[in-house]
């Protein structure tokens, strides 16, 4: 069983974090929290997210799974005004999610979760750790988007850099150590990533002020952040581009 009430802003945050990678997701429900682990269709990126029951206004659940079409949740969110509380109830007999927003009730059919297995999380040894403000990152991405379709993340003992090299122009965001909340990096590391993914991920992190990045050399990046007023935690993994071939 699953029955919850949640503020529309919080539901939007949860939806954004997942929907940047997938259109449908399997929500694993437990008495204390709700979690999603999903890989995008191209298997380039992964999200691993969990939200504690404290993020909800009300939350009652047993162990279970809900297959949800995120576009439908977005449609519901478009009906909600700021501050509205949305209620979600699983109708097990009909296998539907009953959603109330304002005076509207939507009977939402669920997606079959049989084909949605939990993806494996790669075991990554990433030597560098950077904690920075999400705003800075967003500026860097904004500057890069017109220049190239990929972006290099570089960490060294003095700071963190984002570099985007196009055919004609180059954009570079420099964040020296004193502008970072934390930096752990002994040797310089650099990995290259597809900008469209990276950009969509960073844009999806709306309710977060700081972001922790774990970085290696030509290796996937791991980005960790909290949202929903510290009651939600998420990790993004993004596979790199390797140029030397």
């Amino acid at each position: 069983m699953f029955s919850a009430k949640i503020k529309s802003e919080v539901l939007r945050e949860i939806t954004d974090v997942i929907s940047t990678l997938v259109d449908e997701a399997k929500f694993n429900i437990s008495p204390d929290s709700l979690s999603v682990r999903a890989v995008d269709p191209a298997h380039v990126a992964m999200v691993d997210m969990s939200v504690d029951k404290a993020a909800f206004e009300e939350y009652k659940a047993d162990e279970g799974e809900l297959g949800i079409d995120l576009d439908k949740i977005k449609e519901v969110l478009r009906l909600a005004r700021s501050g509205d509380v949305i209620s979600l109830d699983h109708d097990e007999d009909r296998n539907r999610l009953v959603v109330h927003v304002g005076n509207i009730t939507r009977q939402m059919s669920l997606v079959d979760t049989a084909g949605m297995s939990d993806p494996k999380v790669p075991n990554l040894d990433l030597p560098a750790k950077i904690v920075l403000r999400t705003n800075e990152m967003r500026q860097g991405i904004k500057a890069s988007e017109s220049v190239s379709d990929h972006i290099a993340l570089v960490a060294h003992s003095d700071g963190f850099e984002m570099i985007s090299e196009g055919d004609a122009d180059t954009v570079r965001l420099d964040l020296p150590k004193d502008l970072l909340d934390e930096l752990q990096c002994k040797e310089k590391v650099r990995s290259l990533f597809p900008l469209d993914y990276f950009s969509n991920m960073v844009k999806a992190i709306s309710g977060t002020s700081t972001l922790t990045i774990h970085l290696g050399n030509d290796y996937p990046v791991r980005m960790e952040f909290t949202f929903a007023g510290e009651n939600g935690r998420a990790t993004y993994l993004l596979a790199p581009r390797i140029e030397s071939e």
Binding site: H43, P119, P122, P220, A239
Partner: protein
Amino acid sequence: MVFNWISPHDESIRGVGGGMCVACKASKRLCGKPRCPLLVRYHSLLKTVSLVSLHMAGSSPPGFFAGRFGYPKLNIGPLVPPFYGNTALLDHPEEWLNFSIDDIVGFRSQLVRGLHRVNVAEARDGGKLVGRLQELAIAASPSDVELDFMKRPRGNIVFRDNVQPYGPSAPLRRMEAGTLSVHRDLERVWYDGDLRAHDALLWLYTEGVEVSRISRALSAGILGLQAKRKFVPTRWSITAVDDAIGKHLVQKAKGFPLINEFRVYESWKLDNRFMILLVPRSWIYELVEAWYPGSTWNPTGRRIAMFADWEGYRGRTTYAAIGGCYYAARLAIAEALCGEGRQAGALVLREAHPGYILPVGVWNVRENVRRAMREPYREFTDLSGALHYIAERLEISLKQWMGKSRLLRYLQTQRVLEDYPGVGG
């Protein structure tokens, strides 16, 4: 006298290179094409034109054409050859791949086009002539018609990239048709004024109606909600149908498991060489075209001109700059994937060689790719093996394809998460 039939304002002639043709007179091959495209057109026109006067009778394949100039007013009309018989082949691109360019130009130049000026909205209630034309457009088989023209049909054969060429034309005064045997499925959607055009064309496709018939029906304004029906210029209708059906099939293919290997398919017809690479990745698609100097759309260039357009898993939201070919090839690939019940990423490489002297329509791309996908494929365990083979089969070097192909660069450089050892799950 000879040039009565070929207007000096014909854009396709100017496209070949203005004064160059005068200096050459089909004897010096100044444009670099193996044969003079003007003569190919001219000879096939002569045959038709001598048979046509103010009154004409023949069997329409059936054929229907809607021009696009002046939209929302446009010229609609029948395509009819000046003779009776089984003329189905003349407007049936699904069968044309095994003919030469000369044959195809021959088929098309026999089709005289009647012109009837209408507003697109007249598709709803355009009176007797419009009704007869719509009926003809959905006829199941060649239909005998008699045409009266305002003046004697004349003009050039017109060639456009998307549209099959057709012959002389003249304003239509009257069309008489015997009892037409209409296509059952097309008739059904014609009478269903509550069925949206999009749903109608998908339904027709799943019923097995050929794409050329569906686009003719869309063009003739017989699909869609009764109050919204419109004539659609033929060239728009072809790509609209390729796009809508292709999108539908791609969506379906996304539900199927990935192929297990790298595959290479090929087809080489009308001096167009197509190589198709399928990769074991989720849906992603790109078409890269290379036009040789002397081929249709690169008549005066000295270098090979290359163009590319692509889409990721979630498709695209803007019209592909490459045009109708993009959608025609995508349809053919999605069709093959759905037929097999598999999903893959697809790259289509096209070399249009100089022997492709005249544009014959996007059906060339659709049918070439379909043909490739029907033939046995070569199987490879990795990308480099597949690319190596493709490089052998094409003239243009891999390096040049790579320079244009975003998808190739993506496949070569982008890692996936499975490349890294995992835990959990």
